[in-house]
């Protein structure tokens, strides 16, 4: 039996969604470790891009910021935001982007801006950053978030970044470059989207949870297919590699 923490599990799970040869917006934190892990295992030719301007980065230490100099040495080019978010992302050249979410609705639309009403917000969250740009234009979007029932809502307090908006045809209406969210990874499950209705659907349940656990912990309608597999566990090799990548546990230690 492989022993793993929740964070290790999520990183390995996210890593499996990166394919070889892809251009990946890694950001920081778990997505960055997931992208690096993918590059060390099944996707050696994936191209890790930071929106601050680093292209094909191979950091020897894990960066804390998308603009961290740790992204620099050994990367292929060091440019700026117009290059990464304009030429590469809006140009349709980014295969996969990762985003977090404070709230998510059943079409995969994302709130990272405000909790409470816009005119008198209870909490000012970080905002879009490059998130809306990535959600609009990356070919595929992977959403990672902690599983708290109040975050999975029918109606967002504020829609920062587009998922599938109001369903079929609505991304096309705005001529969006990318295809929208593909998968949502939480502490409890993976969810994807029904190709017909663009509505959120249970994809796999993490070890230790049941389908009912998931249904008890979302406030929107969730499509449940007849057959819901268990999410695969990480291998010892994956865990070893991620600890080599983050030897000081800057990200890995958080979940323990």
């Amino acid at each position: 039996m492989v022993q793993y923490t929740k964070i290790e599990f999520l990183i390995a799970c996210a890593s499996s969604h990166v394919r070889d040869g892809e251009n990946v917006f890694g950001g920081t934190g778990m997505p960055l470790l997931a992208a690096l892990l993918a590059k060390e295992t099944h996707a050696p030719r994936s191209n890790l891009i930071s929106e601050a301007g680093f292209i094909d980065a191979r950091p020897r230490n894990v960066p804390l910021s998308v603009a961290d100099t740790r992204y620099y040495f050994g990367c292929a080019a060091s440019l700026g935001l117009i290059e990464t978010l304009g030429f590469l992302l809006q140009g349709g050249r980014i295969d996969v982007g990762f985003l977090g979410a404070a709230q998510l609705d059943e079409y995969g639309n994302i709130n990272t801006s405000y909790i409470g009403p816009y005119d008198a917000p209870k909490v000012k969250l970080p905002g879009s950053g490059g998130g809306n740009d990535i959600a609009s234009s990356a070919k595929r979007l992977i959403i990672m978030m902690s599983h708290d029932k109040r975050k999975f809502l029918k109606k967002l307090d504020y829609m920062t970044s587009p998922g599938h908006l109001e369903g079929p045809g609505s991304r096309e209406k705005w001529s969006m470059v990318g295809k929208g969210p593909e998968v949502v990874i939480t502490d409890m499950c993976q969810m994807d989207f029904d190709p017909e209705t663009k509505k959120i659907r249970l994809m796999s349940v993490h070890p230790g949870y049941s389908v009912q656990d998931i249904l008890d912990n979302v406030m929107f309608d969730l499509i449940v297919p007849d057959d819901v597999p268990t999410t695969p566990e990480p291998t010892q090799e994956q865990i070893d590699i991620m600890h080599k990548l983050d030897p000081n546990g800057i990200y890995l230690a958080k979940g323990e």
Binding site: S50, D68, L81, Q90, A120, P126, G129, N132, M159
Partner: protein, 304 residues
């Protein structure tokens, strides 16, 4: 070629900040942890500037300082947080109090707004933001936050974001000659466009170099002197953040800062000790301590 006497654009940090008037708009350089002009934010606080509007993609500690001290009342930004540490506590409080208005854009939208300002055209087209509340909701900019139009060539929807030409651009670089030719190492973020969009440009640099060094490597010049109005040369301008090839971030200080800002009292303590309690930037550096600063110095070839 006759050698003309070169204009020396160097002034002190205090003099540079005095040029800023209450109510001015400032393009704010740096990106994330990289090259934020923190020393300039400190001096804005010490000189008690008020009602500034700050335009940037997403600075972190500096935005927290300017929001916390009441220097800025408006932000047009894409992002506020301390990456890897957590939410921007001061900004969160000031927004809840109604003391700070944030007009929300995306990183690309802000970068394009600076590009449009640099090009001296009134707007730039962009393909994100549409379909979301970033288009539907606006604060003080109202109708002029952005416009979604039908493209006159394709008929498709396209979003126009208004260009920016604020009173000042504040940009932190690694090296500059005394006339203003500036070199930036590592990523440039939005600073190429940002340095060209302001009506006046103030360059903050870690190191002064001779004109000969500039003219021997013209392809290293990221900002030519013709854009530059004033120069301030000081060490550790970005502390506790980083400056590529010069010094790393000070994680301990950063965590202390972030922890203190969780309460208004904590923030006041930081403000009183580290900003108002010192005379100038060297006073701040003395307080941080030179042994500690020296430990942050970058190692070649890594640059941190």
């Amino acid at each position: 070629m006759t050698e003309a006497e070169i204009e020396d654009k160097r002034i002190t940090l205090e003099e540079a900040v005095k040029l800023v008037s209450d109510g001015d708009g400032l393009f704010w350089g740096g990106f994330g942890y990289q090259r934020p002009p923190i020393a300039f934010a400190h001096e804005l606080v010490r000189q008690k500037k008020r009602n500034l509007t700050i335009y940037t993609c997403g600075s972190e500690v500096d935005l927290e300082i300017m929001a916390g001290a009441g220097v800025a009342s408006r932000f047009e930004i894409a992002f506020s947080a301390i990456e890897a540490l957590g939410l921007s506590n001061n900004i969160r409080r000031r927004v809840s109090e109604g003391a700070l208005q944030v007009e929300d854009y995306t990183n690309l939208a802000m970068a394009m707004r600076f590009l449009g300002g640099a090009l001296n055209v009134p707007f730039m087209p962009i393909r994100s933001m549409m379909g979301t509340d970033m288009v539907n909701l606006a604060r003080y900019r109202g109708e002029n936050k952005l416009k979604v139009i039908d493209c006159p060539f394709t008929g498709q929807k396209i979003c126009l974001v208004p260009s920016l030409q604020p009173e000042f651009s504040i940009v932190h670089v690694q090296r500059v000659d005394k006339s203003g030719n500036a070199q930036i190492d590592g990523i440039v973020g939005e600073d190429i466009e940002g340095s060209r969009c302001g009506k006046k440009l103030i360059i903050l640099a870690e190191e002064l170099i001779d004109e000969t060094e500039i003219r021997t490597h013209p392809d290293q010049t990221k900002i030519p002197a013709t854009y530059v109005d004033h120069i301030v040369v000081l060490p550790y301008i970005a502390h506790p953040m980083m400056c590529h090839d010069y010094y790393d971030y000070d994680l301990e200080h950063l965590m202390m800062f972030h922890k203190l800002t969780k309460t208004e009292e904590g923030w006041r303590e930081y403000l009183d000790n580290h900003i108002l309690g010192v005379e100038d930037h060297f006073g701040y550096l003395d307080l941080v301590g030179w042994e500690r600063l020296n430990k942050l110095r970058a190692t070649r070839p890594w640059g941190y």
